[in-house]
C-alpha cells in the first residue's frame, strides 16, 4: 500500500468577490498532502480553516468564485487541476465519490432510493437495469440496511437520517471509487446515529479498498476511523502524522489546543476544566508574516515565530510525522492541560428553584372541518428538579422531548398535564404572555442556533438594551452602560454593541445571546443545545463561560444537549429522556456509571472516544425511534433495547427504581442485576 493515490502538491486556492474587483483571498496556501491507496486520512480544523475547500477542489467543485491558483492535484497520475471537463466527469462519481454533511440534500426527494442507486452503475459502467439492481441490493446489504428490497422502493423522506446517510454512502461506494471523500458526514446526526455511521465506515474499510479522506472539525470523530490525521489551520497544514502519534505526541501547539478543549466522558468541571484556545480564527486575508497561529499560541516566541513563514518539516527525522512549528522539538511531552478550577465543590442540596411534577404535554392537531383529531404525546410524567447554583442536564436523541420540555419551562408551550413550579409559583399552564414580568425575568432562555438567535436587523446593543428595558425597566438613558457591563460579563468588548449579528462569529453570537438572557438577572437559565452548532474550540470557551457565570450569579442552569461528553463535564444532575419520559435521573457521576439504564448505556457507548485505541465492541442502537403515534404500551425503549428481558418489557411500564443519592432508573431489570451486566462498561476516557 505504498502507491500514491492522491498527491496535493503546493496547492493554493483563492476566492474572489462578485466582480473580481476586490481581489482574491487565498484560503488554502501551499498545501502538500499525500494519500495512499486504501488509506484513511482525517483532515481536521476549525470552520474556516479551508478543509472543505480542499475537498471540493479535488473534484473541482469550487464554484465560480473559487479558483485553484497554484500547485497540482495528482490523482492516479493525472493533474485534476488542469484536466478538461470531460475527463473530470469520468473521474467524478466513478473514481472519486463524495459524501456530504446533510444526507437529505444529497438525495433526490422525488426518486426512490433504489432508482438513485441504480443510476450510478447505469451511467458510469453502462450496466443494464437488472445488473444495476443487483449491485444496488448488494450495496444496501453492505451498508447494513435491513430489508434492502423494501428500502429500494422508498423515497428519501420515508427514511430516518441515519438510513439516509447510509444510502448516500452506498451510492458513493457502488461505483467502487478509488477515493471516497467524506465532508463532515456525521455532523448534525444524533450520537447514536453518528456511532452507527462511524462503525459502518470502520467496517467498510476492512472490506473495501477505497481510500478515504474524512473531514471533520472534531478530533474525536476521526480518531476511530482514520490511519493518519492532518490538522489544518488558516489554509495551511500545520501537522500531519499517524493517528496514534497525533494523539500521543502532538507537536504543534494548535493540535494540542484542539485536544485540550475536547470534553470527554472522563472530564468534569471540578477535576479538569477545559482549556479553550484563546482568541479566534483570523480571517484569511489578514496575512501574518510568520506562523499563522502565532497570535493565539501560548508557546509563541517573539522573533522566531513571527518573522518568516514556517515550513512543514519532518519531525525528529520521521518522514511520516510532519509539523509546521519552529519550536516543535522544544515543546515538552504532551500532557493534557487542565484549567484552574472555576468551580470548587458541588453545591449543597437546596430547595428546588425549578421543578416539574408529572408533567405531560400532548399536541393535538385537528382539521378545521373534519372531526379527525390526532394527538401526539411529547412528554409524559416528567418529574425533575434543580436547585440554586445547580446544573441539570437533559440528554437524549432528537425526538425524545427534551426541546419540548425546554419550551414548556420557558412558557413558549404550555403543559397539558401536571405542574411546573418556578420559585414556588405554578407556571405550567402559563404561556409566556400570561407570565408577569417578574416571572419572565426569573427564567430566561439561550437558544440553539447562533444564526437565528439574534435578529439580523438589529445591532447587538439594541438587542441587549431592549432586554434590559423590558426585564429591568431600565430607562433608555442608562442603557448604554448596562449593555457594556453585560458585554463584559460574557467577555466581549463593549464596542461590540454597535455590531450587526452578521459581523459576529458563531461563538460571539452565542455570547450575545447569553448576555441577553442574563439581562434580567434570571434565577433560571434554560439553555437548549447552546453549543452544539459551534466548533469544539469555541464550544469549550462557551461552556466555561456558562460555568463561571453560574458560579458568580448562583444561576440554576437547565442544560439541554445530545452531547454526553459536554453533559458529563458540565452537569451536576442528569435526566436521560426517551420518547418523552425520563428513563434515568440522578447525579451525573452515578448516571454515567453502572448501574445505569440500558438506554444511557447505549448513549455512553456511542460517544466517540478521543483515543484511536479505544473503539472496541460497542452497543449500536439499531432502528429508529418509534413513531410518536405508535408508542409502545410497556417500556418506551423496549423496541430498541439491547437488554430487553421479554414480554414484560413490551406490556408493562417499567417500575421506577430509587437508588442512593436520588438516582432513579425506570427499568424492569433490577439495579444490581444491571450493575452486574454492565460491569464491563468502562467509562470511555475515564483514565
Amino acid at each position: 500500500m505504498t502507491d500514491r493515490l492522491l498527491e496535493l502538491q503546493d496547492l493554493s486556492i483563492a476566492y474572489h468577490g462578485l466582480r473580481r474587483r476586490r481581489g482574491e483571498t487565498r484560503v488554502v496556501r501551499g498545501l502538500d498532502l499525500t494519500l495512499h491507496a486504501g488509506e484513511a486520512l482525517g483532515l481536521v480544523g476549525e470552520s474556516g480553516c479551508g478543509k472543505s475547500t480542499v475537498a471540493l477542489s479535488i473534484v473541482r467543485y469550487l464554484g465560480r468564485a473559487g479558483r485553484i491558483v497554484g500547485g497540482r492535484i495528482l490523482f492516479e497520475g493525472r493533474d485534476l487541476a488542469t484536466v478538461d471537463e470531460a475527463t473530470l466527469r469520468g473521474i467524478r462519481g466513478r473514481r472519486i465519490a463524495m459524501v456530504y454533511q446533510d444526507p437529505m440534500a444529497s438525495l433526490n426527494p422525488v426518486m426512490t432510493v433504489g432508482r438513485q442507486l441504480m443510476e450510478v452503475p447505469m451511467i458510469h459502467d453502462r450496466a443494464g437495469a437488472a445488473a444495476a439492481r443487483a449491485r444496488a441490493l448488494a450495496m444496501l446489504g453492505e451498508v447494513k440496511l435491513a430489508d434492502p428490497e423494501a428500502v429500494m422502493e422508498r423515497y428519501p423522506h420515508q427514511l430516518s437520517g441515519g438510513q439516509q446517510q447510509r444510502i448516500v454512502i452506498a451510492m458513493a461506494l457502488i461505483a467502487e471509487p478509488a477515493l471516497l471523500i467524506m465532508d463532515e458526514p456525521t455532523t448534525g446526526l444524533d450520537v447514536t446515529v453518528e456511532a452507527a455511521v462511524l462503525n459502518l465506515v470502520r467496517e467498510l474499510r476492512r472490506r473495501i479498498d477505497s481510500a478515504i479522506l474524512f473531514i471533520s472539525h472534531n478530533l474525536a470523530t476521526v480518531a476511530g476511523v482514520c490511519d493518519r490525521i492532518g490538522v489544518m489551520y488558516r489554509g495551511e497544514l500545520v501537522e500531519d502524522g499517524p493517528v496514534r502519534r497525533i494523539f500521543s505526541d502532538p507537536r504543534h501547539p494548535y493540535t494540542r489546543g484542539l485536544l485540550d478543549c475536547l470534553p470527554t466522558l472522563g472530564r468534569d468541571k471540578r477535576q479538569a476544566p477545559l482549556v479553550p484556545i484563546p482568541g479566534q480564527l483570523e480571517p484569511p486575508h489578514v496575512r501574518a508574516s510568520g506562523c499563522g497561529f502565532a497570535g493565539r499560541c501560548a508557546d509563541v516566541e517573539a522573533g522566531r515565530c513571527t518573522t518568516r513563514p514556517i515550513p512543514l518539516a519532518a519531525f525528529d527525522g520521521e518522514a511520516t510525522h510532519r509539523v509546521a512549528c519552529v519550536r516543535a522539538a522544544e515543546l515538552p511531552v504532551y500532557a493534557r492541560r487542565r484549567g484552574d478550577g472555576a468551580v470548587s465543590a458541588r453545591p449543597a442540596a437546596a430547595a428546588p428553584v425549578v421543578a416539574t411534577e408529572h408533567l405531560g404535554k400532548v399536541y393535538e392537531s385537528r382539521r378545521l372541518l373534519g372531526r379527525r383529531r390526532r394527538s401526539v404525546r411529547a412528554l409524559s410524567d416528567v418529574d425533575l428538579a434543580a436547585g440554586r447554583r445547580q446544573t441539570l442536564a437533559i440528554v437524549g436523541e432528537s425526538g425524545c422531548g427534551k426541546s419540548t420540555l425546554a419550551k414548556v419551562l420557558a412558557g413558549i408551550e404550555t403543559a397539558t398535564e401536571g405542574r411546573v413550579s418556578l420559585d414556588g409559583a405554578e407556571v405550567g399552564r402559563l404561556g409566556v404572555d400570561a407570565r408577569g414580568r417578574e416571572l419572565k425575568r426569573k427564567l430566561q432562555m439561550v437558544f440553539q442556533n447562533p444564526d437565528s438567535t439574534l435578529n439580523p436587523s438589529h445591532t447587538v446593543g439594541y438587542t441587549i438594551g431592549r432586554a434590559l428595558r423590558r426585564l429591568r425597566d431600565r430607562a433608555p438613558g442608562d442603557l448604554a452602560g448596562g449593555v457594556a457591563r453585560l458585554l463584559e460579563v460574557v467577555r466581549l468588548s463593549p464596542e461590540m454593541a454597535a455590531r450587526m449579528p452578521r459581523q459576529l462569529s458563531g461563538g460571539e453570537k452565542q455570547r450575545v445571546a447569553i448576555a441577553r438572557a442574563l439581562a434580567g438577572d434570571p434565577d433560571v437559565v434554560v439553555a437548549d443545545e447552546p453549543v452544539s452548532a459551534l466548533d469544539v474550540s469555541v464550544q469549550a470557551a462557551i461552556i466555561n463561560l456558562l460555568t463561571e457565570l453560574q458560579a458568580a450569579h448562583g444561576t440554576t442552569l437547565v442544560f439541554i444537549s445530545h452531547d454526553l461528553s459536554v453533559v458529563r463535564y458540565l452537569a451536576d444532575h442528569v435526566a436521560v429522556m426517551y420518547l418523552g419520559t425520563v428513563a434515568e435521573l440522578g447525579p451525573v457521576e452515578r448516571v454515567f456509571a453502572p448501574p445505569c439504564h440500558p438506554y444511557t448505556e447505549a448513549l455512553l457507548a456511542a460517544v466517540p472516544a478521543a483515543d484511536p485505541d479505544r473503539h472496541g465492541p460497542r452497543i449500536v442502537l439499531e432502528g429508529p425511534l418509534p413513531r410518536p403515534d405508535e408508542r409502545p404500551r410497556g417500556c418506551p425503549f423496549a423496541t430498541r433495547c439491547p437488554r430487553r428481558v421479554g414480554a414484560v418489557c413490551d406490556d408493562t411500564p417499567p417500575p421506577v427504581q430509587r437508588l442512593a443519592d436520588g438516582h432513579r432508573i425506570a427499568c424492569h431489570i433490577p439495579a444490581d442485576e444491571l450493575a452486574r451486566l454492565q460491569a464491563s462498561l468502562v467509562m470511555i476516557g475515564a483514565s
Binding site: 483570523e282 486575508h285 472555576a342 404572555d433 432562555m445 437565528s452 423590558r470 462569529s505 439581562a519 434580567g520
Partner: protein, 298 residues
C-alpha cells in the same frame, strides 16, 4: 471563584466583516454598482426621473400646443425630433411631460400596496387562526377577479383621476404583497429571536413590526421594484383603454390609444410612447434582478 479560565478569551471580532460594508444609505447605494443589471436598471430609472423633474426645461414645446404647420409632415424632423401626432402635438414634449404622472402614480400605488399588504400579511402569518383565514380568502377573491374588468368598473364609477388610479392599484396589488409577506412571516415567526422577544414580553405589534418585518425587507424591496414596473404597464393599459388620466394632458398609454389606428401610416406616433413605457419597465425589472443578486450574496 478563582481566576476565570476564559479571562484571556476576550474576543475581538475580525475587522474584516465591517471593513467591506460601508455604512448607511450611501454605502447601500454604492453596492448597487456591484451588479451590472442593478447599475443599468438604476441608470434607466434615474434618466426618466431627471427627465420628469426637468420637464419644463427639457421639453421643446408645451405638451398640448398644436403645430398645425407640422401636420403636413408629422414624421420626425429637425423641428420635432420624434415627430408630431395627428393633432400636431410634439411627441417628444408629450413623452417628457408624460413621465411625470407615471413616476408619481406607480411608486405611490406600490407604497400603498406594500403598506396595506404587509400589515395584512404580518397579521395573517403571525396570528394565524381566523385572521389568517379571512385575509387569505379575501386575497384569493380579489386575485381571482379579472383585474381589467375590476378597473373598468371602479374607474368608470368613481371617475378616473390620479388618486383613484393609485387607489385601485393599491387594492389590487396589496393581496399579492400580503401573500408574500405572509409566507415570509410564517418562516420568520419560528426564528429563535422571535421566541426571545416573547420571553421578554414584547407585544404582538412590536414583534411583527420590529422583529419580523425588517427581515422580510430583502424580498419585499425586490418585489416592490418589480411591482412598480408592472404598475407602469397597467397605467399604460388604463390609458389605452381610455380610463386612464383624463385628456388632454399627456399620458403614455393615452398617446398610444389616440394614434394606434394610424399605425400603418405613421408608426412613430404609437411606437415612441411604447418605447418609453418599455424602457422604464425594463429599468425597474433590471433593478429588481440586481437587488436580488446583491441580496443573495449577503
Amino acid at each position: 471563584m478563582s481566576t476565570p479560565v476564559t479571562a484571556d478569551v476576550l474576543t475581538v471580532s475580525p475587522p474584516a466583516a465591517s471593513r467591506r460594508r460601508a455604512r448607511g444609505w450611501w454605502g447601500r447605494v454604492a453596492r448597487l454598482a456591484d451588479s451590472t443589471p442593478a447599475t443599468v436598471g438604476a441608470a434607466l430609472i434615474l434618466v426618466w426621473v431627471v427627465v420628469a423633474a426637468l420637464a419644463p426645461l427639457l421639453a421643446p414645446y408645451a405638451p398640448n400646443s398644436n403645430d398645425l404647420a407640422a401636420l403636413a409632415s408629422t414624421t420626425p424632423s429637425r423641428a420635432h425630433w420624434l415627430g408630431t401626432d395627428h393633432l400636431g402635438r410634439d411627441i417628444l414634449s408629450r413623452i417628457v411631460w408624460g413621465a411625470r404622472p407615471v413616476l408619481v402614480i406607480a411608486p405611490l400605488a406600490v407604497l400603498g400596496a406594500t403598506a396595506l399588504g404587509s400589515l395584512l400579511g404580518l397579521a395573517a402569518g403571525y396570528k394565524r387562526g381566523w385572521i389568517d383565514l379571512v385575509v387569505t380568502r379575501s386575497c384569493d377573491i380579489v386575485l381571482s377577479f379579472p383585474v381589467i374588468i375590476l378597473y373598468m368598473i371602479i374607474l368608470t364609477h368613481f371617475g378616473s383621476s390620479a388618486w383613484n388610479i393609485v387607489g385601485v392599484l393599491t387594492l389590487t396589488k396589496a393581496p399579492i404583497i400580503a401573500r408574500i409577506v405572509r409566507g415570509l412571516t410564517l418562516e420568520l415567526r419560528e426564528r429563535e429571536y422571535v421566541a426571545a422577544a416573547k420571553m421578554r414580553g414584547e407585544s404582538s405589534l412590536y414583534i411583527m413590526l420590529v422583529e419580523i418585518l425588517p427581515n422580510a425587507r430583502g424580498p419585499l424591496i425586490v418585489d416592490m421594484c418589480l411591482r412598480t414596473g408592472y404598475n407602469i404597464i397597467i397605467i399604460g393599459v388604463l390609458g389605452f383603454l381610455g380610463i386612464g388620466l383624463p385628456p388632454p394632458d399627456p399620458d403614455w398609454g393615452g398617446m398610444v390609444k389616440d394614434t394606434y389606428g394610424m399605425m400603418m401610416v405613421w408608426p412613430h406616433m404609437a411606437l415612441f410612447p411604447c418605447a418609453a413605457i418599455s424602457s422604464l419597465v425594463v429599468g425597474f425589472n433590471l433593478l429588481a434582478v440586481g437587488l436580488r443578486e446583491i441580496g443573495l450574496r449577503d
